[in-house]
Subunit: 150 residues, 4 copies
């Protein structure tokens, strides 16, 4: 698995001269969707087969400031998965120096298109295996799975 990178854009800064704190929540999403792409079954495929993955909670701890034109690396890791709920942790760090900018967490559930909670384990066992195998893998570990287009 490769580590997701993001180059800071001008429109992400605020008048403090740093990245506005709300953007880290968006970067978590960038890294999360990238992780799922790497697992072999991205968000857009999920939604195509009728699975919605809303965010139940999000938190960010801001350690140091990120500036325009910096490149950050965002490590996303699946920390909890039980077939119904999913949680990830994130570490955002400066690519050049390795200094940690921000850490965070999000938690999620799975819904069908009617908005009803979904047990991935029961309804989509192949995707269940995908998440289950990815649990606690580190960036750099082999995350390739054999999920086919369902």
């Amino acid at each position: 698995m490769s580590i997701y990178e993001h180059k800071v854009q001008y429109y992400e800064t605020d008048q403090m001269g740093i990245v506005h704190h709300s953007n880290y929540i968006r970067w978590f999403e960038e890294a999360r969707t990238d992780l799922m792409d790497q697992l072999g079954f991205g968000y857009e495929k999920m939604e195509e087969i009728g699975i919605i993955i809303p965010v139940l909670s999000a938190e960010a701890l801001y350690k140091t400031m990120t500036h325009f034109a910096d490149v950050v690396q965002i490590e996303a890791k699946i920390t909890e998965y039980n077939g119904i709920r999913l949680a990830l942790s994130y570490v955002v760090s400066d690519k050049k120096t390795g200094v940690v900018r921000c850490t965070g967490k999000t938690s999620h559930c799975f819904l069908n298109k009617a908005g009803k909670p979904l047990s991935l384990k029961r309804s989509f066992p192949e995707l269940h295996n995908m998440f289950d195998q990815a649990l606690n893998k580190q960036p750099g570990d082999d995350l390739s799975t054999n999920v086919k287009n369902l």
Copy 2:
């Protein structure tokens, strides 16, 4: 019709210490949806009955700078409407001083949910009348119409 107001938020600023230029395009949308609310049939009602109003073009001329905590007034006016196409113009000005911050235009068409172009005139004559009557009305003019929930 009342003039739409927007208070500038911190997250709308960039490191130049002013509002990022992309936000004016969003403010045009705020004023446009507010105008349609005032006409009596807002975007959300449009979408409920299956009408999508995508943006075909947008332009902004930035005159003077807007800062955090400023209150701006955004005048939206329908400048063209022919049953198939819709165009609006916008003037953003500082509430306190009246100084113009930005002017702009957007143009739009009407699509059904399948993405096919829609003649409002033929398919939704009541909405057609609503837009037709609003053409070239000034902020302050009576814009009340008798559109019912369709």
Copy 3:
């Protein structure tokens, strides 16, 4: 003190058909800056006299979904203040039904323009009193203070 209101804009939605979760973090900021305005000394005045208030942490618990054109009320309350650190809690609820959409917290410190931590208690006693008196006040309580332009 009045409760801050926000009308959901089209650009705040995502393809799930609901408000993107990152926007709640921005709404917390809207309510926080509004609270400080009501206390009598807003963010823009803070920055004018050289005080920066960065966000150290932010979290949100998403309870129910918010849709385009909904009006939400955002109650912000100062839950901790000790002269050096500041924390707030937030409740976002639907204006019409009162249903809670999201709760959250943020924490902050005070920096001078050189980026050095600032004891408000020592350096700006009048602002210190302002925050101290606002601690744990409820929306609806009288929050007027006598802070003058410093």
Copy 4:
């Protein structure tokens, strides 16, 4: 010169199920700052030596819709430069199919930190040459210049 690429993020979509139109204005900025990096003197270096490059106008013509997870290529080209004013044009197209999504233009001036207009030709002849040589170059052309850190 390489062509700038952007992968569409979930938070860039709206409830129409496509990219919100305001984001194209942001993508123009992404491609513009990337172009300047490639010319050898990026926005952040400009601002370090006291040059601000505000946007005077922006326009976008939306041709076809962009969806989540699409990769777009954004070609930015300097179309006008006279030492005082700068204008660029943009073409956003789908990476896979080459279908054009959007075209656009922006125009800019140069200001010093006090907000006064700046003649790059007079005050920064090396940067003047950089822009002058880049005028009307195509993506793929050699754009390397010899601008040093000033």
